[in-house]
Point group: C2
């Protein structure tokens, strides 16, 4: 009974996600669904990404949070169009919530839309929102045992950004174990160690985005 219900919700979401998808394709915008636990650095990554793409690519952001508009305010301070969705209690964004946010953005000239999901390593992985790619962030402060303990998020993501590598000298984190476990769960996962504090590794992330945006516009 409960399983049936969950299936209905997921199927209904797929319909709306497909509609979002058609809209994004029509607009020629590349869409990233950015996911990860609270405090791994999702919004800070978007700030660094905005700086990195400034003058070359036009970006917009949809911020998903349970409460507050703090994240959208941080993004807007970088002169990036940003919409805040407050989910109330909900632990993830779904296709319908994202659709609600789309009407508040002017897509003229926008080439990249990043949707920052609610901070949660579990639930967001189950809901498509019409994105081109799911990108997840983890942090060395979270520990190296996450791929096997939270496998779905690692399975559905195309890119895994491993943030806060500047903290490696101060935490117990086995990078090789983490990498091996992540690839065991998803052999196609592209793993990029980064630090949003020092800027390490961000060039690779920006290059990855640039290639996708170019292909989308072609």
């Amino acid at each position: 009974m409960e399983i049936k219900l969950v299936k209905d919700i997921l199927e209904a979401n797929e319909v709306i996600a497909a509609q979002n998808r058609a809209f994004f394709t029509e607009q020629g915008v590349y869409v990233v669904n950015l996911m990860g636990s609270p405090g791994v650095g999702k919004t800070t990554l978007l700030e660094r990404t905005a700086e990195g793409l400034r003058g070359s690519r036009r970006m917009a952001v949809i911020e998903g949070d349970i409460a507050t508009s703090r994240d959208a305010e941080r993004i807007a301070a970088h002169a990036i169009p940003a919409v805040q969705i407050n989910t109330g209690g909900a632990c993830h964004l779904d296709g319908n919530m994202v659709r609600g946010g789309l009407g508040q953005l002017d897509f003229g000239g926008i080439e990249l839309l990043v949707v920052e999901n609610v901070g949660n390593l579990v639930c967001p992985a189950e809901f498509n929102i019409g994105e081109d790619a799911k990108v997840m962030i983890s942090s060395v402060a979270e520990g190296d045992d996450k791929p096997l303990k939270y496998p779905l998020m690692f399975q559905v993501s195309s890119v895994l950004l491993l943030n806060k590598v500047d903290l490696l000298p101060h935490v117990a984190f086995d990078l090789e174990r983490f990498r091996a476990d992540a690839l065991k769960v998803n052999p196609r996962l592209e793993i990029m160690p980064i630090s949003c504090s020092t800027g390490e590794g961000l060039d690779r992330w920006l290059r990855w985005l640039e290639e996708r945006i170019s292909a989308q516009g072609a």
Copy 2:
């Protein structure tokens, strides 16, 4: 429609939680529901707690994880009775899952049961499991903006353990802002800065537990 459904699920859970509660009272065991994001140090706290209570109080642990039995194995290595519940995909423990775990524990002589919830700062806060107290862990690596962004978890908890304070010199974290925001959300919250790496602050946590266990047995 959807709201009605969620209400039904929560009401059904309350019935089972009350049954668990009656069982715990009968056994004279104090029960903590330990919650927090992935990687904030829940299992490490339990390892330190097991060491701290050794020889004085008898403790058991129920580990909730989506997958793997790694956490229960870590606890069992400290000669503490531990049961692993794998939730499959589910993002939280509910009363029924905990009830399923109870049958696998021998409660003879056990004075404290800690149930480590799935790593998630959102969903576990909605489900009572029959506990005496909800305790949450946050970490300075998660950032100081969490109380206002994830308010429910802070509202329902009696104790907030702020872990990894040994990392304070290496991360941007405003302890006074964090404390003020947490108390704004829940003025009765008891906030304890700790480090499971250095042991800082753990004496206060152990004292808090000791007082509750004594009161329960009285």
